[in-house]
Symmetry: C2
Subunit: 296 residues, 2 copies
């Protein structure tokens, strides 16, 4: 297993390489030209799942009857413009629906995984926002799929990105990991929760640690971030110094929690026999946050 | 003016001191008890504007006919539970609508400004989400005002928090500030933009700098964050090293931009005569990001 760890797998869903071409989104002529470009392609999804073609995401030419207003512009790469069908597209013969989420990282390149994340989050948002939250009328995609406009009140709605804090409490050379009842046996991870209106990232970290574990943060350090397309979160990983190691768990959220030292976290990341817990897979930012803590 | 700067005004809208009592939100009995508490109060808004009572936010007892389902629980302080009416509440005699946004920070304590931010963002979100984006039916507040449930499809919708990156590009000891056409004469600030699905904070910073100023980021450092209740953003301030000082401005976004050294930024923050630009007010995170850069 040491070999796997040596490969330093990338943070899942980060690392996209498309130029998103924001300038085209509001420019009908530029968008039409991109859609008509001979190298314009569409990234295929099966519902919200990725479709793979060998070890790449399946990408196909635009269908002859495809309409630009049914597509979202993901961006441009060296080949040309890349779109996604906002309501899905029939699969070409031979394309396979991709395996489960946790296997995707073994199969796809980091940039493919990132491009899937963008496409999935965008298509999912459209599927759940056919109506205007302000007035209840129908909405339709505009801006190359990057917003929807209400046909009733004309309100414009933009794709949601939900900021989430995910954090390790640190005390006396150990960090706190917890597990939810739905986790695999032995698996523990960083605690996490949504940022709410009226708080900073650092305040959200402190609130979540207080609510879920009963520990008071005295200092919070941001470490890294990750897009997480289920449905569309922005994971922001932090380490928080806390006042004491005494825990009061919110057992509706956290089934169990424990303090682990660097050797224990190192063992968990390397999946060693006898490690104190099973660490999250490298597709998740919690894996990289644990690794960062071990190395810093 | 040096005196004003010496006071080190707080970051606007950050620093709330209420315990949000997440555990009560889904517990009808606990919520009813909080609402019936003799010390339960309501933070008054005039529409979406704050109401001030001397140098504090106006807070009043709950009206006798008030119903818990029409209120959002902001949290608990040493006095007792604090609510906000989700559809507004008539102003008591003598209460004054607060002055403009930019004056609020001179008038209110940091925690009052933070509590206003939470209340304003929450009430505003309810006002704009009376219908289900998924099916178009009516929604109604649940969870003590922290979500809405669809009366048609039963979907639950949570308050939006939109992550925004705001950043200084740095090159050769200078940082980049830009101005939008709507800014006051001479005012420049950090560039900014919404984080999109499928990107990290750091990637969003790099994309925005490329789109708006034509500069390529090579390293991005997160500095601090701020809730911004217009309507409900999470501002995430960063400094990005860039490859060159050569600019290509997107003039639909940025009217002008310039590179400024530490002495220039120091002068702008102190509002000195002859400073190269007018810095944003301390209520905005851009002010604190500029200050952080000068001091680091």
């Amino acid at each position: 297993m040491a070999d796997v760890e040596e490969k330093r797998p990338a943070l899942g869903f980060a690392g996209g390489t498309l130029d998103r071409m924001d300038a085209w989104r509001g420019d009908a002529a530029a968008l039409a030209a991109a859609f008509a470009h001979p190298a314009a392609r569409v990234l295929l999804l099966e519902g919200l799942s990725p479709v793979v073609d060998g070890d790449r995401l399946a990408i196909a030419p635009l269908l002859p009857d495809a309409r630009v207003e049914d597509h979202g512009l993901l961006g441009v790469d060296a080949v040309g413009p890349l779109f996604v069908a906002l309501k899905g597209q029939a699969l070409p013969h031979g394309a396979q629906v991709a395996p489960g989420l946790w296997d995707l990282q073994k199969l796809l390149s980091p940039e493919d995984l990132a491009h899937y994340a963008t496409a999935k989050a965008l298509v999912d948002w459209h599927a759940r926002h056919g109506f205007c939250a302000a007035c209840g009328e129908h909405t339709a995609p505009v801006r190359a799929g990057w917003s929807r406009r209400c046909e009733g009140c004309n309100a414009e709605h933009f794709p949601r990105v939900d900021p989430v804090v995910i954090m390790l409490a640190e005390y006396d050379g150990k960090i706190l990991v917890g597990r939810q009842a739905r986790f695999a046996p032995g698996q523990y991870s960083a605690l996490a929760g949504f940022v709410e209106p009226g708080e900073t990232i650092e305040e959200a970290v402190a609130r979540e640690l207080w609510e879920e574990a009963g520990v008071r943060a005295t200092a919070v350090r941001y470490v890294m971030s990750q897009p997480w397309p289920f449905p569309s979160s922005l994971m922001m990983a932090c380490v928080a110094q806390v006042e004491s190691a005494e825990l009061t768990l919110d057992t509706t959220e956290i089934e169990a929690a424990m303090w682990v030292d660097r050797d224990g976290v190192r063992g968990a990341l390397a999946r060693e026999d006898g490690a104190p817990f099973l660490a999250p897979q490298p597709i998740a930012i919690a894996h990289h946050l644990l690794r960062w803590w071990v190395e810093n």
